[in-house]
C-alpha cells in the first residue's frame, strides 16, 4: 500500500500547481500592501484578479484530478531545512481537494461581494494572506510546514476581526487569538515529539507526514499522548464542545467577509486536521479516543442547536448552528466508515457554502437595518420577498432538506456512523429536529408576521447581492441533486484512510450489510 503511495508521490508534475495555489495569494497580498491607498479601484482590481485566478487554478485542479486514485496527487517536494528533515511538501488527495476548491471559490466571492467599511487596501491584503495560509494548511504534507501555515492563518484573522469587526471586536479577536494559540502550543510540542520519536523507527529525523504515517511505528503504538496534543489544537479550531465559546464571539464580531471565511474554511482546518493528522497519523490513538470524541461531537450537535435556539442575535444564532454542524462532521470522522468519512468531507464543504451564505444574508440585513437583533426585525417577507426566498433556500439547505446540499453530507455521516457508533448516531440524528426548530423560529420572527414601521423600508435584494447569492444557491441545488462527481473523487481517498486505520488497529468498519449483496 505504501508502495502505491510513494509511486504517486514521485510522479512528475509539469507545473507546480499546488505551490502556485499558495504563492499566488502571497504575491497578491504583497502587491496590494505595496500599492497606494489613493487608488482603491486598482487595489480592488488586483485583489480580484489574484483571487479569481486562484479560484481558476483550484477549479483546474478539480477537473484534472484523477478520481480513481486515492493517493496524493500533484505532489511538489523540495528540501527546505535538510538537517531537520523539513521539506516544502505539498500534495492533494480527494479530501484536501474539496477544501482547496471551497477556499478557492469563497475568497473571490467575499472580495467581490462584501466591501469593508474602511481601509480597503489593508483589508484585502490580510484577506489574501489568509487565503495563502489556508491553502498551505490544506496542502501541506509536512508536519512542520503545516504548523507554519496553521499559525500564519491566525494573524490575518486576528487583524480582520480586530480591525474591521463590530463593537466588541477587540475582545473577540483577542479571545480567538489566545484560545487557538494555546491549542497550537500543544500541537507544536506534539509535532516535535512526533518527529523525534519517529526518527527512532525511520533512522533519520524527518517531519514528513507520509513517511511517518506509513513507515513509523507510531501508527500502532505510543501515539496517544502525541495524538492528544494534536487533538487539543484541532478541537479548539473545530470547535468541539466544550472549547467552542470563542466561536460565537469571533463570528458575531467579525466583519461579514471575515465570518464567511471563518465559518467557511477556517473551522475546517480543525476537522481536516482530525482526518489528516489524527486518523492518518495516529490510527491507534484515534480508535482509542473514539468514545470520548464521539461523545463530545454528539454533545456539540445538541448543545449548539439548543443554544442557537435561544439566541437573540441572528448572527450569533448562525454561529451556534456551526457548533452543531461541525459536531456532525466530527461524529462522521471518528465513526471511521467509508460513508461517514465521505459524508464528513461533503459536510465540510456544504457547511462552508450554506453557513457562508447565511452570514452573507445576515450581513445584508445588518447593512439595511443596522441591527442583528431578532426582536427588531419583523415581517420582512412582505416587503422583500426575493430576499426572503433566498434566505429560505439557504436555510432549508442548512436544515438538511433532501434535494439540497446540506442533506447529502448529513445523511452520509449518519448512515455511515450508524454502523460503528449506533447510539451516538441515534441521539445525534435528533439534531435534525432542533435544526428545523431554531432556524424556522428565527425565520418566522424575522420574515413572517405583519411588517412594522421600522422594517417597512427594508430594501429588496439588489443585483450584486442577488448574483452573489445565486452562485451559492447554484452550488446548493447542484450538490444536493447530483453529488456524484464530488463523492467519487472523495471516496477513494477516504477508502484508503479506512484501510490505513484497519491495517494498523483492531478496528473494523462493517461494509454496511454488504454480505447480503447490494441488491438492485
Amino acid at each position: 500500500m505504501s508502495g502505491v503511495m510513494l509511486a504517486a508521490t514521485s510522479a512528475p508534475v509539469p507545473f507546480p500547481i499546488l505551490t502556485a495555489l499558495v504563492l499566488v495569494p502571497v504575491i497578491g497580498a504583497s502587491i496590494v500592501s505595496l500599492m497606494s491607498t489613493r487608488m482603491p479601484e486598482q487595489v480592488k482590481l488586483v485583489a480580484t484578479v489574484v483571487s479569481v485566478s486562484t479560484a481558476a487554478m483550484s477549479l483546474w485542479l478539480l477537473s484534472s484530478f484523477d478520481s480513481h486514485s486515492g493517493g496524493f496527487q500533484f505532489v511538489s517536494r523540495h528540501e527546505w531545512i535538510e538537517t531537520w528533515g523539513i521539506s516544502w511538501h505539498l500534495g492533494v488527495d480527494g479530501i484536501a481537494l474539496f477544501m482547496v476548491v471551497l477556499t478557492g471559490i469563497l475568497f473571490p466571492l467575499v472580495i467581490l461581494g462584501v466591501d469593508p467599511h474602511h481601509d480597503e487596501k489593508r483589508y484585502l491584503a490580510w484577506l489574501l494572506m489568509l487565503e495563502a495560509g489556508v491553502m498551505g494548511s490544506f496542502l501541506s504534507l509536512d508536519l512542520f510546514l503545516f504548523f507554519v501555515f496553521f499559525e500564519i492563518v491566525l494573524v490575518p484573522m486576528y487583524f480582520l476581526i480586530g480591525g474591521w469587526g463590530y463593537d466588541k471586536r477587540v475582545y473577540a479577536a483577542t479571545k480567538f487569538f489566545l484560545y487557538t494559540m494555546l491549542g497550537s502550543a500543544f500541537m507544536l510540542v506534539g509535532i516535535v515529539a512526533t518527529a523525534a520519536l519517529a526518527s527512532r523507527d525511520l533512522g533519520r529525523f524527518t517531519f514528513d507526514l507520509v513517511e511517518i504515517a506509513e513507515r513509523s511505528d507510531l501508527a500502532t503504538s505510543t501515539g496517544r499522548w502525541l495524538f492528544a496534543s494534536f487533538a487539543v489544537a484541532f478541537a479548539v479550531k473545530v470547535p468541539l464542545f466544550p472549547v467552542h465559546t470563542w466561536l460565537p464571539d469571533a463570528h458575531t464580531q467579525a466583519p461579514t467577509g471575515g465570518s464567511v471565511i471563518l465559518a467557511g474554511v477556517l473551522l475546517k482546518l480543525g476537522t481536516y486536521g482530525f482526518l489528516r493528522f489524527g486518523l492518518y497519523l495516529f490510527p491507534e490513538a484515534s480508535v482509542w479516543a473514539r468514545p470520548a470524541l464521539l461523545t463530545l461531537a454528539v454533545i456539540g450537535v445538541l448543545w449548539g442547536a439548543i443554544a442557537a435556539t435561544m439566541q437573540r442575535d441572528l448572527k450569533r444564532l448562525v454561529a451556534y448552528s456551526s457548533v452543531a454542524h461541525l459536531g456532525f462532521i466530527v461524529l462522521g470522522t471518528f465513526a471511521i466508515t467509508s460513508q461517514a468519512l465521505t459524508g464528513s468531507v461533503v459536510q465540510m464543504v456544504n457547511h462552508g457554502v450554506s453557513t457562508g451564505a447565511l452570514f452573507l444574508l445576515v450581513g445584508m440585513i445588518y447593512e439595511r437595518r443596522h441591527t442583528r437583533e431578532i426582536a427588531e426585525l419583523r415581517g420582512i417577507q412582505s416587503v422583500a420577498p426575493i430576499f426572503a426566498a433566498a434566505f429560505m433556500v439557504v436555510m432549508l439547505s442548512s436544515i438538511g432538506v433532501p434535494g439540497l446540499n446540506g442533506f447529502v453530507g448529513e445523511f452520509l455521516v449518519l448512515i455511515g456512523s450508524f454502523e460503528t457508533a449506533r447510539w451516538w448516531t441515534v441521539v445525534a440524528a435528533t439534531g435534525v429536529i432542533l435544526a428545523a426548530l431554531y432556524l424556522l423560529w428565527a425565520y418566522q420572527r424575522v420574515f413572517h408576521g405583519p411588517v412594522d414601521e421600522a422594517n417597512a423600508g427594508f430594501g429588496e435584494m439588489n443585483l450584486r447581492e442577488g448574483s452573489l447569492i445565486l452562485v451559492f444557491i447554484g452550488i446548493i441545488v447542484f450538490t444536493g441533486l447530483y453529488p456524484k462527481p464530488m463523492l467519487e473523487r472523495i471516496e477513494p481517498s477516504v477508502g484508503r484512510l479506512v484501510e490505513h486505520v484497519e491495517s494498523r488497529t483492531e478496528f473494523r468498519a462493517p461494509a454496511g450489510g454488504a454480505s447480503h449483496g447490494g441488491g438492485g
Binding site: P402, G403, I433, L440, W441, G449, P450, P483
Partner: protein, 640 residues
C-alpha cells in the same frame, strides 16, 4: 413505457420552474392554467402507465427507471430511480387526478390574491414531491419527496405569512414532522445496516426470505411508525394538522386531507413485508395507535364550530382507521380507504371552501345554516360527501370502512369495538355539520347585518354559489364518492378488483382471515355497521335539526381534550426554560470558565510582573538562588 416514467414527476416540476421564472408575467389566471395543465398532463401519463401495466402479466408489472446515480458511496448505492408497480401507480393515479381537480378549483378560490402565481408554484412543487414520494424506487427517493411535501406544506400553511397564526402553524407543522423524519432516518439506517441497500425491492425481498432478524424488523417497523405518525398526524404527533387549517382551503383539501397525510399509510404499506417480519406486537402497536387516534379525534370533531376544524379532526380520525387497517394486516383495505377518503374528504374540504368563499371568509358554522338554497351545487355535493364518510351504502366510504372493521374484528375485537364507536361518532358529527351549514334556519343574516352595520361589504353580505371552476371539481369528486366503492366490493372473490390489482406487491387478501368468525359472519357485521351509522345520523338529526335534546359539546372536547394546550404549556414552559438554561450555562459556565481562566492568568501575571523590578540586585539574587537550587538538585541526585 419505463422510459417515460420520468415525465410523471417532471411535468409538475416543469410547471414549478416555469412559474418560478415567468410567474409575474403569467399572472392571473395564467399561472393557474399552467399549473393545472402540468398536473393534468402528468395524470395522463400516469393513466397511460396504468394501462401499460394492465396489459402485462402480473409478475411483470414492475417498471423501474434509473434516472441517475444519486448517492453512491462504497457499498451504499442509491439511485434517483422511479418505480411503477401496482401500488405506486394506484397512488399516483389518485394523487395526480385529485391534484388536477384541486388546481382547477384553486383558480377560482385564489382569485384576486396578490400572490396568485406563487400559490400555484408551490402547488406544482408539492405535486412533484408527492410523486417522488410514491414513485421512489428506494427509501431515499421517497424521503426526498417526504421532505419536499413537508416543505411545501410549510410554505402553503404559512402562505398568508403576515398572519401570525398562519406563520406559527406552518412552523409547528414542519418541526413536528421533523420528529417523524427522525424516525424515518433511523429506519433507513437500520435497513441499510441489515440489508445493505435502501431499495424497497431488495429490503422487502430480504424480509420475505427471513433474512432480517425479527428484532431488526421490529426496530424498522417502529421507526417507520414514528415517521408515519408525524406525516399522517397520529397520536401523539397529530397536533400540527388542525393548525394547518390556517392555509388556504385548496391546500387543506389537497395536502392535509387527500394526499400528503396519507404518506405514512403508504410508507407502511410499501414496507409491509418488513412489518410482517417483525415481532407481532409491533403491528399491534400500529393498530392501537390507529384505533386510539380514530376515537380520540372523532370525540373532538363533535364539538368543533369551525367548518374546517371539524374536517381536520375528521381527517385525523379517518387516518386512524387506515392505521388500524395496517395494524390488522389489512393493507389492501388501508389503500382502499386511503383512496375513497381522498375522494370524499377532498370533496368535503373543497365544499367547505366553496362555503367559505360564498360566505366571504366566514368559517364559524354557528353563523351558517340553510345554505343549500343559495348554494345548490355545493350543498348537493357536500351531502354526497357526508353520506360517503358517514358510512351509508352504497357510497364509497361505507365499503372501505367496512372492510377495515372486518379485519379489525378478526384481529382484535376490542379494537373493532373502538372502530365501531368511532364510526358512530363520525356519522354523528358529520350530520351535525351538514345540518348546521346547509339546513335549518339561515343564521347568516345577523352576520350580514353586522357587516352592514360596519358599513362595508353590505352588498356582498349575501352568500352566493361559487363559479364553475370551483363547482365542476365538486361534481367530479361527488361522482367518485358515489361510485368509488366499486373498486373493491365484498360480494365475491372476483369483485375484489383493487385487491387483484395490488396483489403482486400488497397482500392482505380476504383469504388471510378465512376461517375466523368475522369472515363467516361478515354480512352480519355489515348490517351492524349500517345500523350504527344510521343511529349516529338519527341521533344527530334529533339533536341538531329537531332540537329533541341539547347538544353535548363540552369545552374539554372543543379544546381537543386540552392536549394541545398541555403540550404548548410544557414546550413553552419547562421546555423553553431548559433551553434557556443551556444557553445560560454556555455563556455563564462554559464561557465563564474560559474568561475566568483568562482573568486568573492575568492577575497571576500581574503578580509575576512585580518581580520585574528593573533592579539588577534583585535579578542577581534570583539567579543566585536558582543556581543554588540547580546545584543542590544535582548533588542530591548524585547521592541516590
Amino acid at each position: 413505457m419505463a422510459d417515460l416514467l420520468w415525465l410523471i414527476p417532471a411535468l409538475p416540476l416543469a410547471g414549478f420552474l416555469v412559474i418560478l421564472v415567468l410567474g409575474r408575467r403569467l399572472g392571473e389566471p395564467g399561472a393557474g392554467v399552467v399549473a393545472t395543465l402540468a398536473t393534468a398532463s402528468s395524470f395522463l401519463v400516469v393513466a397511460a402507465t396504468y394501462f401499460d401495466l394492465l396489459g402485462r402479466p402480473e409478475e411483470e408489472r414492475n417498471l423501474v427507471l434509473r434516472v441517475f446515480e444519486w448517492v453512491p458511496v462504497g457499498s451504499l448505492k442509491v439511485d434517483m430511480a422511479l418505480a411503477a408497480d401496482p401500488l405506486s401507480i394506484a397512488m399516483a393515479l389518485f394523487v395526480t387526478g385529485i391534484s388536477s381537480l384541486i388546481h382547477l378549483y384553486a383558480i377560482g378560490y385564489m382569485k384576486g390574491d396578490p400572490k396568485f402565481p406563487k400559490f400555484f408554484m408551490y402547488l406544482n412543487l408539492f405535486v412533484f414531491s408527492m410523486l417522488m414520494l410514491v414513485m421512489g424506487e428506494n427509501l431515499l427517493v421517497t424521503f426526498l419527496g417526504w421532505e419536499g411535501v413537508g416543505a411545501c406544506s410549510y410554505f402553503l400553511i404559512s402562505f398568508w405569512h403576515d398572519r401570525e397564526s398562519a406563520a406559527t402553524a406552518g412552523k409547528k407543522a414542519f418541526v413536528t414532522n421533523r420528529v417523524g423524519d427522525w424516525g424515518m432516518m433511523v429506519a433507513m439506517f437500520l435497513a441499510f445496516s441489515a440489508v445493505g441497500t435502501l431499495s424497497y425491492g431488495a429490503i422487502n425481498h430480504a424480509a420475505e426470505k427471513g433474512q432480517i432478524a425479527a428484532v431488526t424488523a421490529t426496530g424498522i417497523a417502529l421507526m417507520l411508525l414514528v415517521a408515519a405518525c408525524g406525516k399522517s398526524a397520529q397520536l401523539p404527533l397529530y397536533l400540527w394538522l388542525p393548525d394547518a387549517m390556517e392555509g388556504p382551503t385548496p391546500v387543506s383539501a389537497l395536502i392535509h386531507a387527500a394526499t400528503m397525510v396519507t404518506s405514512g399509510v403508504f410508507l407502511l404499506t410499501r414496507m409491509a413485508p418488513v412489518l410482517d417480519a417483525a415481532h407481532p406486537w409491533a403491528t399491534d402497536v400500529i393498530a392501537v395507535v390507529g384505533a386510539a387516534t380514530a376515537l380520540f379525534a372523532a370525540t373532538i370533531a363533535v364539538a368543533q364550530t369551525d367548518i374546517k376544524k371539524v374536517l381536520a379532526y375528521s381527517t385525523v380520525s379517518q387516518l386512524g382507521f387506515m392505521f388500524l387497517a395496517i395494524g390488522s394486516g389489512a393493507y389492501v383495505a388501508a389503500v382502499f380507504h386511503m383512496i375513497t377518503h381522498a375522494f370524499f374528504k377532498a370533496l368535503l374540504f373543497l365544499g367547505s371552501g366553496s362555503v367559505i368563499h360564498g360566505m366571504h371568509h366566514e368559517q364559524d358554522m354557528r353563523r351558517m345554516g340553510a345554505l343549500r338554497k343559495v348554494m345548490p351545487i355545493t350543498g348537493f355535493t357536500f351531502i354526497i360527501g357526508w353520506l360517503a364518510i358517514a358510512g351509508v351504502p352504497p357510497f364509497a366510504g361505507f365499503w372501505s370502512k367496512d372492510e377495515i372493521l372486518l379485519y379489525a374484528f378478526a384481529n382484535n375485537r376490542a379494537l373493532w369495538a373502538v372502530g365501531m364507536v368511532t364510526a358512530l361518532l363520525t356519522a354523528y358529527y358529520m350530520t351535525r355539520q351538514v345540518v348546521m351549514v346547509f339546513f335549518g334556519e339561515a343564521r347568516w343574516h345577523d352576520a350580514a347585518a353586522a357587516h352592514g352595520a360596519h358599513g362595508d361589504h353590505s352588498h356582498e353580505g349575501e352568500p352566493h354559489e361559487s363559479p364553475w371552476v370551483m363547482t365542476a371539481p365538486l361534481v367530479v369528486l361527488a361522482a367518485l364518492s358515489v361510485v368509488g366503492g366499486g373498486m373493491q366490493l365484498p360480494f365475491s372473490k372476483s369483485t375484489h378488483w383493487l385487491e387483484h390489482w395490488l396483489a403482486p406487491v400488497v397482500h392482505g387478501a380476504e383469504a388471510d382471515i378465512k376461517g375466523t368468525w368475522a369472515y363467516d359472519n361478515k354480512w352480519w357485521l355489515l348490517v351492524l355497521a349500517i345500523l350504527v351509522a344510521s343511529a349516529g345520523i338519527a341521533a344527530s338529526i334529533a339533536v341538531y335539526s329537531r332540537g329533541r335534546a341539547r347538544p353535548i359539546e363540552p369545552t374539554v372536547l372543543a379544546d381537543g381534550w386540552r392536549y394541545d394546550s398541555l403540550v404548548s404549556a410544557v414546550v413553552g414552559g419547562p421546555g423553553r426554560a431548559a433551553f434557556q438554561a443551556v444557553a445560560d450555562a454556555d455563556a455563564g459556565i462554559v464561557d465563564g470558565a474560559v474568561n475566568g481562566t483568562g482573568r486568573v492568568v492575568l492577575s497571576l501575571s500581574g503578580l509575576v510582573r512585580r518581580t520585574q523590578t528593573g533592579f539588577v540586585r534583585g535579578y542577581a539574587a534570583i539567579v543566585g538562588a536558582g543556581a543554588v537550587l540547580v546545584l543542590a538538585w544535582f548533588l542530591l541526585r548524585g547521592w541516590t
